[in-house]
């Protein structure tokens, strides 16, 4: 009876340890799960992010022609952020502009490496409010590729975008934010 009980206890304990280990794995499984459910199915991530694959970039190079809505104007604001105090300056040439939905615009962003080292940087976009994401299309962006900055180098980098005319009239302002991340050490 006594041995019986202790082997019963050990068996149960082993099983529960297995559950705990499996749950540790489940924590990691949440990573692909999140990307699948939240990003792909629910479309959380900005389309600009998903479009960074090469195939999409080629497709984007062709500009779809939309009917330009001359009666309507949407304010597009540009915000720039440097992550982790990386030694750069970064700004949009025009902080904001009024655009007609359907028309293509080009805006220049200016970034300078203020250090004496070469920096490999990647810009990540973020659009708000989030629901405008599918209606904001970029055909050209410095965020599509990694950018190398030589010491003290200044770069003028254009983005070309269009606000699709079927964007709901509820949205009058769109904010586009770029964050530059230093990925020199990650390579």
């Amino acid at each position: 009876m006594a041995e019986n009980l202790s082997s019963k206890n050990t068996k149960l304990a082993r099983m529960l340890v297995l559950v705990a280990v499996a749950m540790f794995g489940f924590g990691y499984a949440l990573v692909p799960l999140y990307n699948w459910v939240c990003v792909d199915l629910l479309g959380l991530k900005n389309s600009t992010d998903i479009n960074t694959t090469l195939a999409n970039k080629a497709a984007l190079a062709k500009e779809t022609v939309y009917t330009v809505d001359k009666d309507r104007q949407v304010l597009v604001e540009f915000i720039t952020v440097l992550n982790d105090n990386i030694p750069m300056t970064f700004r949009a040439q025009t902080p904001q502009m009024k655009v007609h939905p359907g028309e293509y615009y080009t805006v220049n962003f200016i970034a300078q490496n203020t250090s004496n080292k070469t920096i490999l940087a990647q810009a990540k976009p973020s659009l708000s409010p989030a629901p405008v994401t599918p209606f904001f299309e970029k055909t050209q962006c410095f965020c599509f590729i990694e950018q190398t900055f030589k010491p003290k180098e200044t770069k003028v980098m254009p983005i070309r975008f269009v606000v699709k005319p079927d964007l709901s009239t509820d949205y009058k302002t769109i904010t586009l934010l770029y964050t530059f991340f230093d990925i020199t050490d990650k390579k």
Binding site: L12, A13, L30, V31, Y34, L44, I183, D185
Partner: protein, 560 residues
Amino acid sequence: MSAFSAKGYEVKDHNTPQHHHDDHHDDHHGDDHHGPAKGWLRWVVTTNHKDIGTLYLLFSLVMFFVGGAMAMIIRAELFQPGLQLVQPAFFNNMTTMHALVMIFGAVMPAFVGLANWLIPMMIGAPDMALPRMNNMSFWMLVAGITLLFSTLFMGDGLGAGWTMYPPLVLQTKEALPFGIFSVHLLGISSIMGAINIIATITNLRAPGMSLWQMPIFVWTWLITAFLLIAVMPVFAGAVTMLLTDKFFGTSFFSAAGGGDPVLYQHIFWFFGHPEVYILILPTFGIASTIIPVFSRKPLFGYLSMVGATIMIALLSFVVWAHHMFSVGMPISGELFFMWATIAIAIPTAVKVFNWIATMWEGAMTFETPMLFSVGFVVLFTIGGFTGMMMALAPLDFQYHDTYFIVAHFHYVLVPGSIFMIIAATYFWLPKWTGFMYNERIGKLHFWLSAISVNVLFFPQHFLGLAGMPRRIPDYAIQFSDWNMISSIGAFVFGVSQLLFLYVVIDCIRGGTGIKATNEVWDGARQYGGGIVEGLEWTLPSPPPYHTFTEAPEIKSTIPR
């Protein structure tokens, strides 16, 4: 360590079967191989559930005061606007450490201590199922907390909040890996404790006690233990990802490498929400034990109590994102998590209803444990209501990260978990020590605590609604008055707890001189065990070192 053994000797004398109360030497235990080991080493090597329960409880009592002292520093700094006492970095240390110490050092170990002491006695088992693992999980807890405290002496320490959100937390310097390893140890410790409790409840119930006859405290702990096993490893995974992101070049949460900081919040709260129920479910079990005894009525709705606990536990896995309504979720997500959260109000309301129905027309008396229990039912319900307010996604945008949430979770944790741990201590202390505690000081402790806890936390609702953000050392001057009142409440509450410390030590020493009977409380045998006789009340007070080496008979107290 020395604090434990010093107090421990006192406890031991009353716990052992051969005790002589006026004789505080322990030389008369030596030749009895069933008794505890000699000397201070007993407390290191012990595998006895009562000894380990005592260790856990004393440890958590110490942590309660350490974490409380940190809260006093926070409230002292917030007494007036501007920076007076501490630097912002240290203030951030205090908010972070206060939370971690209170959750992992005070509340959880107190529950494990209660489980160790009570579950074997409640189900008629001789000890825990895995006594050596029991010892190991306690000492691992001590190691984890020690590691946690060591971060206070490293650079700026841990200051990104107990939730440790990246990217902020990744700016932590040398303290980060120590904090993470500490979480690992604390996690392993509580998983081992949980496994032990499940094994004990599953395999060691006295013959004749079915699952559906177990005392509610045992039920709530069984469910809590499953929650622990399910979510502590997920938390361990999340912090491991932080570790590799910081030191090994992974990009789980780094946008530069294609990761997403929001992912961390999902993983964290997948752990975090069940975790808050880990902090409250055993409390429900304690309330369901104490209220019937002092109402001299059987617990109302035993089955619905168990069912509600299971419902709460299951729902806790699908509500996590209500902690992140303002993070930018699709509307479908907001709605799902909002409705799932609102659904939790139903089983919780069942519980509150059952407690009130238990008291209804009962022959109630208001000894200290009952005072704390009634205070718990009222004040926990207030915390529940503010929880409902925040469950509503559109409203939550206003409350998010303000003092409103601080008020909410302190209402459910302080007059919730802490009050019931205190109530449990008053309730079972005579059983553990063999002496009654000082009832007069106990009652004074309750009234001071109950009043000051409201002075402390109620104004924080107003501060939050007016927009005062949480986790800041300084604030705009329009928040001054309520902050000052809140701080005064905090100081009174903090000092009041010294009464508790006094009562506990006094009782261990037998200060009142009133010996406790076996039953201790009138009606405890009949109503203290749910629907069967409360087994721990059939034992002598204090119970001998080894109890129920032969399984007791289970007597139903309620015609079913």
